[in-house]
Symmetry: C2
Subunit: 725 residues, 2 copies
Amino acid sequence: MESPLEEKDEALLPDFPKGPLQTYRARASFSWKELLLFLEGEDIIRLKRTIFSTLENDPLFARCCRGDIAVDKYRELSFLRCKRFLEYRFVRVKDFLQAPVKVSVLIECMGMYDWSVGIKYILNMLVFTLTVFSLGSERHFEYIQKIFKMEIFGCFALTELSHGSNSKAIRTTAHYDPSSEEFIINSPDFEASKFWVGNMGKTATHAVVFAQLYMPGGQCHGLHAFVVQIRDPKTLLSMPGVMVGDIGRKLGQNGLDNGFAMFHHVRVPRQALLNRTGDVTPDGSYVTPFKDNRQRFGASLDSLSAGRVSIMSMSTVNLKLAVCIAIRFSATRRQFGPTNMEEIPVLEYQMQQWRLLPYLAAVFALSHFSKCLFINLLEFYQGMQSQGRSAQQAALGREIHALASAGKPLTSWTAQRGVQECREACGGHGYLAVNRLGDLRDDNDPNCTYEGDNNVLLQQTSNFLLSLLAEKAQGGARAESPLKITGFLDAYPDILSQKFSAPSAGNAWAPEEVLDHSYTLAAYRWLVCYLLRESDRKLNQEKQAGSSDFDARNNSQVYHCHSLALAFMELTVAQRFHDFTRHASVPPSLRDVLGRLSALYSVWSLSQHVATLYQGGYFSGEQAGKMVKATILDLCSQLKDDAVALVDVLAPSDFFLDSPIGKADGQLYQNLWAAVLQGNQVLERPSWWPKFSCEKLEFRSLKPKLAQLCPISPYLREVDPTWPK
Amino acid sequence: MESPLEEKDEALLPDFPKGPLQTYRARASFSWKELLLFLEGEDIIRLKRTIFSTLENDPLFARCCRGDIAVDKYRELSFLRCKRFLEYRFVRVKDFLQAPVKVSVLIECMGMYDWSVGIKYILNMLVFTLTVFSLGSERHFEYIQKIFKMEIFGCFALTELSHGSNSKAIRTTAHYDPSSEEFIINSPDFEASKFWVGNMGKTATHAVVFAQLYMPGGQCHGLHAFVVQIRDPKTLLSMPGVMVGDIGRKLGQNGLDNGFAMFHHVRVPRQALLNRTGDVTPDGSYVTPFKDNRQRFGASLDSLSAGRVSIMSMSTVNLKLAVCIAIRFSATRRQFGPTNMEEIPVLEYQMQQWRLLPYLAAVFALSHFSKCLFINLLEFYQGMQSQGRSAQQAALGREIHALASAGKPLTSWTAQRGVQECREACGGHGYLAVNRLGDLRDDNDPNCTYEGDNNVLLQQTSNFLLSLLAEKAQGGARAESPLKITGFLDAYPDILSQKFSAPSAGNAWAPEEVLDHSYTLAAYRWLVCYLLRESDRKLNQEKQAGSSDFDARNNSQVYHCHSLALAFMELTVAQRFHDFTRHASVPPSLRDVLGRLSALYSVWSLSQHVATLYQGGYFSGEQAGKMVKATILDLCSQLKDDAVALVDVLAPSDFFLDSPIGKADGQLYQNLWAAVLQGNQVLERPSWWPKFSCEKLEFRSLKPKLAQLCPISPYLREVDPTWPK
């Protein structure tokens, strides 16, 4: 039978260079090229390869010593790279509408190169423009044109020094002055300075500023957005009344300039108000299609879902790169062995497999999920056009909101822990900056915080589930679930009465049961129902004990709503990946490896909840817990020989991966040694050598005291009787 | 009753400045001054305060913008600070023998200032000199004298590019040439270059180099240590035949210069061999008091225990500083509240308490443990003098080795996770470099790796426990446990037959039961016995199934030996802190707060193992699991009002803590704002502004395409009908 690959352009997917990884590559149970083509398709692969080779050949993108660059220079490079990305026009303007997946691939590639550039681009090209689009009207579209021409540079200024999560409590004000038809933007004090705003530190000329809108009569209409010019595009000097600056070095993403701004009675024209959700007439009347501030506020901030879905994809990219580095390292690093003569790759150790392979599975499961959710989001926006705000659309919007609100925490945390595990799994070499695991961890870290702190955000999802339960309790109506995510809750009481029944026999599932892993998903469904019931009970208990709604909610997060939201999200990710891997379109030659990845992600995620499965009585006896563990180890061992080929599917070009210990040729030590020797002034003595050589210390009568210098000297005396007492 | 405090010098423990933290300070159930005096004693407090104020007043130690300093400059500062520390002679030479705890306080203070300086000092002043002391003889003591005069600078060169954990497989060679009475040190290839060696990058003039010793006849006697001069102290240029350089930037500790060295047939005199465990006569005969290489190798490396105990203390310091920052932040950061008008400190949220307070408890428990183990180590060394290698001493040595081998992993991991949690708990501001949580995390990270990778090291402890079990099985003799740590294993079968019996009633323990928390410790003892039995069974199963010893051991780590070592260590830490807090010497006014900290550390640590407690049948029913959770939350809530005062006990001076959001005055925003404005060129436009302002992009006919730019444009059209199709 002719392989479908032979028909493809061989140049598209060239073989990897021969080398130490060959052994594992030869052992793989599947063709990495076939899996890559199946997952991404030829067009996307071609686009990625184009981006990879274009940037690799452009000196502006040349890699320099990681971290050895001054912040100002790094900011400059990030700005220039951001601009060059736009100039290359890898994606056509029409693709934004017709092939938005290409746009997300573009962003993924920018992030694989460096998130400082990627986020700078996103904040300017997407967040600023989308906010102007969605909150403004035609009179604001000139800003978009100017952004695309790079005449101006944008930022999104919501958070303040003293307010982040509680965005409703923002204190910047905008007073309308009908005499001049202007708004006066003002920061009452430094605690109300806009703070943390990406691109604001050095680059942005225009900001979407959120402020409390006050009418001449003193009435406050709540938070509104205004386009405010903060710097002169001709000089990059700040505008009068605007004190704008850089908040300084962060743990990562230092190519991005986060900034602050204080407004001292800055006057902007009436037209600066982004007026979709509310407008002010020239004479100072407030008009809005919304009934109350709360509803208006919700509508004005619902573009945040797109940000959260993006962060899921960003986090997954970070984990993907870290796993590529750690697995290629583990397949080539040899340490210890059955005899003194022979050392084996550390990937052969069960411990190393257990540390890394679940994260490899997580990359596949989470990538699939974030791609799906992105498509759901696009469908939602398209549905808004054809159906408007129908009940079906409203339900879809709610469901996407719930998934994005727990998807961001799950993905960013999995990535954060996974990258750290990869760093540790690469030992000392993982701690060397040139190998990139530090940058991946540091650049990923804020994904846990911005666009909604993870712990706060999870409440959105648990609230959604609790409201479904309440609806059922009230009417018994079928839970509306356009994405079929929450349908299983219809069987809530039945599921709660289920118990785990051990499969066939022994300590582990039979191979076909493992790949099916319906046991895991059933256990997850029980877990979600149990946590839902417990959360509901806990909330009611609190209220019955006299707690306010505020206190009741706060006291029901730990071990209840918080766990519920995460477990629900893990189930959703696991279920979607399970469905995908068992779809008829999967080539038979790929089913086993995809099935194993899916099973491993499920059972590994579930293993965090075994205590709860026992506590609630779903598990009982010693076998249940042992089976979960045995299954994880079994799957790790089955995937071990496929790991390098799976990483070949995930990894970008060596230039993009940018890690000597993770290169595709597997020449671990040659690559690392070369990278170290190419460092800055590696072999030179330090500039301050005279300070070492000229200034010595005076110690009189040191020698007789030597014996007392060290707490173990008595021990030494045993060895050396001449040692002075 | 007159407070004992009034007799003390008020200047020693001045009150904190008034401010927003006052509310919590007033609510504390105990006096922070009393607790500090009880825990540290007046002498240590005085020493610390002296160090704090001396450094704060020395411009050499002035803080500069975190991370904004070039590596070369940072290395210079670290070297000069290291030297200045020595010049200040905070600790007298005789204190090294008479009051070694003072030396550990000195190192703790250096670390609180900056671990780059601290580790540079430790490697030179302690590791190099102790190695020369313990492996060498009188002819080598001149090196120590020179180290103290700063005439030379030392490093410890064991690991190579391709060998870390498996140190026996080191490939550097030392061939003896009797004709010149010299050793020829050689690196066979770059993979055998010494690598990761602290101080070697730029500073060290002398290295203790570990190499395989070869006799003229070709016989190899295994690993030996040699003092090799690598640089000329007059010029800091490398010595002939030595290619020595810097391995480059790391994720943290960049004030420390880690380096590499390749030796090209470098000749050193016969006397360069550190000859305690084996020597070579001038004519080329090898003499050793040890029977075989294996025994000799063990003896030559057993000084590593001291390093591991030090790392426990280093990790605890990192966690301590992070917890101080995060708790002071949480007590002053307000976000959301019961009404729109009033916001409450985030420390009031159960979720925030649950995230942070267990780590606060861990700081107390782990600090106590690492201090104890340090004292045990000193006693061990003293015992070597009086008793030599008696059976009792041998048992003590083994026990300390087992505790240090699991203590380092437990402490470094707890710190790594805790610092990350603190970073996240401080939200965006935690991600700002100036607040130090990033440096704490990055500087702590290698504690998980060096001096034995955590996962590899845990095997030492599980092997120790398994060997105790085997000894019992063979002779039934009482497990020898000089530190009374493993005595409970005598009751191994009885303990295994125990089951958890719910205390009095309800969802949680009664207050007095919580403080007693003998339930937790009993559960832990069962857990250790169960994991010991399971590990032993697993190893035997593997062997019966035909696995080699090597494979059997490797396949018994995950969920078995690995968990066993950690659980045993947690129990040991919890038990020791429990005993300490219930000791008669504890003032009655401190018993409750210390008891709560002890109980929280125990039950929080135990909560990681609830699945195993159920799996093994120690727990059954829903109540057991729920009680563990309820107890944690209950203790968090009880400790919440004491948290700020507890942090006042732990925190160094503001200058040492070096975190605007963690300052003692609690003026969160004022301090942060001041720090940001004091940054480098905060308000200036970037140097590259003309590149922004002059070069614009050409986009023809952009406006008609605008509508297609964004995937959500259909959604926008609903809002704005003028939006072009």
